[in-house]
Amino acid sequence: MSERLPIYLDYAATTPLDPRVAEAMIECLHTSELQGNPSSMGHEYGRRARARVEQARAQVAAAINARPASIVWTSGATESNNLALLGAARFHADRGKHIVSSRTEHKAVLDALKQLEAEGFSVTYLKPASDGIVTVEQVRDALRDDTQLVSLMHVNNEIGVIQDVGAVGRLCRERGVLLHVDAAQSAGKVSIDVEEMGVDLLSLTAHKVYGPKGIGALYLRRNPPVGLRPLMFGGGQELGLRSGTLPTHQIVGMGVAFEIAEREREADVVRIRALRERLWAGISKLRNVELNGDPERRVCSVLNVSFHGVEGESLQYALADLAVSTGSACASASETPSYVLRALGRSDHVAQSSLRFSLGRFTTEAEIDAAIVSVTQAVERLRSIAPKNTGE
């Protein structure tokens, strides 16, 4: 175990709690009046907990311009994505069994779609251009008479590109097709307006927005109402769409996190983007480095770079003083090169030599400058010991 902790540049994997969020959660953990079951409306403990739950529902709804009644609490975006996709597809199977999505979606979308394929649905996985963007034309061309659902992520978790969800939303409206958007990575960084974007289902999670892990939400359009088959059944909480005792402290934490994220979004974005540009300015001084994903249409916080002539595992090992990721958190446990970079046309070998730097609310200029030094030294050292391609 390293003594000094590395510089945290893995905000896209998960964010530390904002102290204001921690404070709100700790109040719930310390205050016995708030520890009743929010479903126990028969007594004061339950009613007070319920009041906090509904306050948080309003906070999350406000952050995406939705009505509180359209927010369903879940355990995170994985559950939200599964509830949205499995729930809508199974419920509306009679409308048609075709679904349109993309190759660069998060595993929680891709694996849910695989399950639907096993259940007899057919899925078109759109291949983005090398910049990571899926165009509305691609979606239009993929729509069929039996298409019931389109699922497209707002901001990609590995390369940070932003999809034009609004245009796809208008298209889906015209065609009477449901649109699900995985917004786990955009909340707090890109404005989300479910009305303007014409979204029917939208997945959110707290732990990418300085809130707690293990709590998320699914936005579900209420007019016209979108029908869903629940993933789990029981007490009938959340209008029967998601049973299970509501975790007051978690929900309160998510509410505060989203309220802060929306209020401070613009200031955060300006600061974080400047830091990211400083990082890229430093790293791009190295020869043979390549930015992955569209340089303009991207979230402020993510920088995904391929380092040619440097082996990925050695690069990460040499950068022990930086907490960065070689892909999505779940993937980085494994050795396999990022399927997202592969979809952009990168070779296994280049994908393997790529790192995702993701910055956040607590990143400092000093950390960025230190990161530039580490990366430069590591890359130059590894290149210096490698065989020259113009050898002998």
């Binding site: 082996e311 595992e313 050695s314 090992y317 050795e335 590894l382 490698a386 065989p387 050898g391």
Partner: protein, 130 residues
């Protein structure tokens, strides 16, 4: 991924990095490629029947880098026979390389075999091996 102390040391401070200036007494051998994930270049100065200097360049994972560095220490002073006897398993054991990485050590062995072949094919060598 686990790295043994020896891997850590050789990765942090590899020895005999570089390429010897070519000359009649210098043998070189190359194996692997960046696309395959490992590439190794060995260059050895031979005097009489022994390797008196062995340098390397390497592209690869920490185990590959450490193994190449370790090898140059291990085979400095080696004879053609020592070279012929050497196998990747020695490196696997010494550096505690996990099985999923053994394939990369085979590339290192390829480089050693190539070096051996070049040595045997040296004119000055025929007499000795005859």
């Amino acid at each position: 991924m686990h790295y043994s102390p020896l891997v850590e040391r050789h990765f942090a401070t590899p020895c005999n990095v570089g390429q010897l200036a070519s000359g009649s007494d210098v043998l070189t051998a190359r194996a692997g490629s960046q696309d395959r994930g490992v590439e190794i270049l060995l260059s050895a100065r031979v005097e009489h029947d022994r390797i008196v200097a062995l340098n390397h360049r390497v592209y690869g994972c920490p185990h590959s880098i450490a193994a190449a560095s370790w090898l140059t220490e291990r085979l400095t002073g080696a004879t053609l026979q020592d070279l012929a006897r050497w196998t990747w398993r020695e490196a696997a054991t010494a550096l505690e390389v996990p099985p999923e990485k053994w394939g990369r050590l085979l590339v290192l062995e390829d480089a050693v075999r190539a070096l051996e072949k070049n040595w045997r094919s040296r004119p000055s060598n025929h007499a000795e091996t005859a």
